[in-house]
Symmetry: C2
Subunit: 459 residues, 2 copies
Amino acid sequence: MMIGIVNEKVALMAKDNTASSRTVNKDSLPRNIVWILLACLPVCLAWYHRDILGLSIGLSILSYVASDAMIKGVAPMLAEAGRAGTDLNKVGRPKIPESLGVVVGTVFLVTIFLFLPFPFMSWFLETGSKDSLEFPFQRLGEYTAALLSICSMLFLGFADDVLNLKWRHKVVLPAIATLPLLILYRVTFGVTNVVVPIQFRAQLGPIFDLGVFYYLYMAAVAIFCTHSINILAGVNGVEVGQSLVICASLIIHSVIGIFSGIVAVKDHCFFALYILLPFFAVSLALFKSNWYPAKVFVGDTYCYFAGMTFAVVGILGHFSKTLMLFFLPQIFNFLFSVPQLFGLIPCPRHRLPRLGPDGKLHPSEVSFDYHGLSALGQVSVELCIALGLVKEISKCEHDYKHGREMVVTNFTLLNFLLVKLGPLHEDHLAMALLLFQSLCCTSGFFIRYHISSYFFPPS
Amino acid sequence: MMIGIVNEKVALMAKDNTASSRTVNKDSLPRNIVWILLACLPVCLAWYHRDILGLSIGLSILSYVASDAMIKGVAPMLAEAGRAGTDLNKVGRPKIPESLGVVVGTVFLVTIFLFLPFPFMSWFLETGSKDSLEFPFQRLGEYTAALLSICSMLFLGFADDVLNLKWRHKVVLPAIATLPLLILYRVTFGVTNVVVPIQFRAQLGPIFDLGVFYYLYMAAVAIFCTHSINILAGVNGVEVGQSLVICASLIIHSVIGIFSGIVAVKDHCFFALYILLPFFAVSLALFKSNWYPAKVFVGDTYCYFAGMTFAVVGILGHFSKTLMLFFLPQIFNFLFSVPQLFGLIPCPRHRLPRLGPDGKLHPSEVSFDYHGLSALGQVSVELCIALGLVKEISKCEHDYKHGREMVVTNFTLLNFLLVKLGPLHEDHLAMALLLFQSLCCTSGFFIRYHISSYFFPPS
């Protein structure tokens, strides 16, 4: 029944998918102003009740409205400036505006800038003008360091969109941008111990100090988060969709933390919420325009921005290990991509699924000379075929025609889903991926709150 | 004699000014590595002696070398990405890479990120891992807030280069980006009093509290600094040149502050120095490529970045009033431009001087119907002509030919210099402006350290 409805919707969309419907309609200014005024209401209410969380929610609603309006306004400007990309999986390969992450990123930054004075309101209202002794500088430092890392990645992402930076720069810069965060972690929390699972305590003791390796781990988390969303991409709505699911999971995790009753945990979880709520709001606005059939592309800008936001929240919220549980699809996609990313198997310029003549997406393929691969490359191919991760396509036929050429599907999560589920419409594939992401996040919660007690019993 | 040498140089340059000499030569990688290794020497020495100022100087030298190498590497990438602008004042109007501010801005940010742990080194070395009570969070907050404002403006500048943003966004965003700085100012220093000149103390008392207006003033300083360098532009080397002169003046002012012996002033001046030294270094590298005949353009990116760096140093260094003394040419240029910027007199798209057939720059002109102007517009024109700020060109002739059309030179400092000095070669005009900037900065010091004692006698 549901599939029937969805199919109908797709048919309608396909019918509607003309050039005119794919351009962004510019809303009239008065309508936007009415929306923004309406969204101001919760802000004023929360302000009146001195409710910081309420204010954060209100500002987030406002940032959703502002993002939605600005995406429509700025998209044509981006296209005019040459920032337009080809939607490869549509008939006619239309050009649509790119790098819209720059808009939602700016709205996000402005929202947090405007929100910034309020967590310190009680200090401003209670103390005199020259008494700076009790001000929570540590908390303000956390906000500014978090925003600094996010802003740096927004800048790097936009530079990458415009310039196509080299991989060596893209890997080093997120780690450098995390330095202020790591300094803050060092001087506020400074814990580099990991609790040893009960099964290994006889050998390692109850606690194992990773020391400087813990900081390297956190820098690696920042690099991984920044890039992992960017490599699980290529289908309308997938980049923002997965970010929304991860963000929702982190919001739930923070709310659980707030109700845990431990004061320090509560503080960190409120900090995480104040960052995550506006992020969710601006991403939702972008999702609306980026979902199939996409009117805009998000660009590297959004992917870097989203990844660094999660890394920042994970590091300063002191739950970088839980964060990784919500990144399971990205970790799987990265590990699965390793043979191609590191050159063991040839990597074509685009690995995203290709549009078939039936209007559905099929897994894209890579062809190579099997015997020309290194031993490690050959093992990777055989292993992935044996595990059913990639599908071997007409080896014999090609053997007969072109000697020893081998054709397999590309090593990405999206192609894997198509191998398992068969050819899918673009929006169905995106839905399948978001469902997979949701399942993984649910498993993440299960691991965090149930299975972990098997390894780390509550003392 | 000097003019003779300069003229010879210009003649040589003009002869050499072929298409091939104007492209950026890509240095060989090994040569760059040798330079970078050489520049690492002072860093290692300072590190060995635990000398933070020495380390800042060493890192600044390194950032100069890195910027110089990266400008050469990234310029062709920017041109390929469509970021190339027309050099209007050259024969043949060549296209050269634009927005190189993005490169030096990134190098600056990376330099400060890498430098960031060192001012806190004594804390890391002295205290245990969990003792976070004594850590100078306030100081770290100042660095992160400063970098956040600078990074935001770098991002805004690059977005403006690519997108040509609207003026209403460009005015509001710097003020919002200054919010973390203003919060920090409020909670650390919080002084909103101004000392009343001795001549007015009978009426106003010795001290006058500006209250919230002081914060509005500081936000206005940030907006003004961000844009004022951008509107005093249009000739090779002028944007970076004026920034270098202002930066040098601020460095001298900070060094004077360090030798003042007052501990609080000393701290702020060291903070200012650690920001200004790498800024000077990366700007110098950009100046090398941007000086006549320019191989690259700096873009709005650099102008916003430079302006916000000065604003940040002025606000957190607690010398925003002295800062304004070094911005006298920019203040003059802004006030002088007001009639055109605010539409009292028509404002053509480009107001930069135009190249004459003699190879020299001549003041550009604007023509309008004098009697069609508002009363305020007419007064502005008459006043500027009477003061000799603009030159009236063939009013009678035009009157005779085209009715009441009036032609005057455009209302900018560069055109004013050409009106006073006569047509000049492009590099001579840039030198004249830098000389004017240096004279104004010298006067700034004179006002700050001599004349001010007439109004504010030392108690």
